[in-house]
Symmetry: C2
Subunit: 182 residues, 2 copies
């Protein structure tokens, strides 16, 4: 089942946002465990409006041209969000082409594997920088996250996962270079 609406509702609890802002928010803060595209967000906002879970405030200067629309959550929206919170989750899924390649690799692919591992290490180190930035940003809004104790915990899990991946790939690279992999 599609979860787009719940992410949107969840984010709107802290104040109204435009569709664009919602997208950015998911991208910057949640990309380590969630993703949504414009093609899902905009239609879903209209569906939510239709269901009475959000209200829309259009920036109505000009006339016809499309302008900024801010969405706010309604009481019904909030209770729908809380209902979802108590529902059973579907299984987590991970799709990692890098791990797939490593898993399937033989000695014939040794050269490619080194490239894969380097790329993996690089990507995780970049993600760590992003996390650090976001983490710092968070602590500047102490009041807001007063109400969101778990964000830090999830973030800290993300960081530790990145560290795991990055150190794992690094150690594998080392052992491959030194030629004593097993």
């Amino acid at each position: 089942m599609k979860k787009t609406r719940y992410v949107i509702l969840g984010l709107l609890r802290d104040g109204s946002l435009t569709g664009y802002e919602i997208k950015k928010c998911i991208e910057v803060r949640m990309s380590f465990f969630w993703q949504e595209s414009f093609g899902q967000i905009y239609p879903e906002l209209n569906a939510l409006l239709n269901d009475g879970f959000v209200t829309e405030t259009a920036d109505e200067r000009k006339d016809n041209s499309r302008r900024k629309k801010k969405y706010a959550i309604t009481a019904e929206g909030l209770s729908e969000f809380n209902r979802w919170m108590g529902e059973k989750n579907e299984k987590d899924t991970i799709r990692s082409e890098s791990l797939l390649k490593l898993f399937l690799a033989t000695d014939a692919n040794a050269r490619d594997i080194v490239d894969q591992l380097n790329e993996m290490k690089k990507q995780n180190e970049e993600k760590l920088l992003l996390f650090a930035f976001y983490s710092k940003q968070l602590s500047e809004y102490a009041d807001l996250h007063e109400n969101h104790k778990y964000i830090h915990e999830v973030l800290s899990l993300g960081i530790r996962q990145c560290e795991l991946y990055s150190s794992w790939s690094d150690s594998l690279l080392q052992r491959l270079k030194d030629g004593h992999l097993r």
Copy 2:
């Protein structure tokens, strides 16, 4: 882009398999980073046959009734697999409803969060048992994995990831119970 064919080709390098066996194999050994369903595998096997990347040996007793079909990789299939190995990967994606919920939770959701965390801990501990089983199974076929050095490494990463998630949820639960979460 769809990757189903490469998983199939990758697995077939160690000997012919039926579609059913391929499915089981992915399920048991790769579920921590990859998944495929019958609805992808069977049509893809026919596509691969059509492209000359695999050959089919049907178990042709009886006549009309559908029977076991073993697939083997061809030289062209092998080179197609090796080509893919050198290609750039698409970004890894994770979809975790549990982390999404935790990320979005406030104090209002405290009760639900405890359930989520317990479920998360349980699932990761179960996965660890599966990993242990598979790991043991692997060491019994030393000859086969001689050629697949990286399987162990990927497995070990999977184990450490599960341990991370399980100990993270456990520690969060502890702190929630003791009431000193920040």
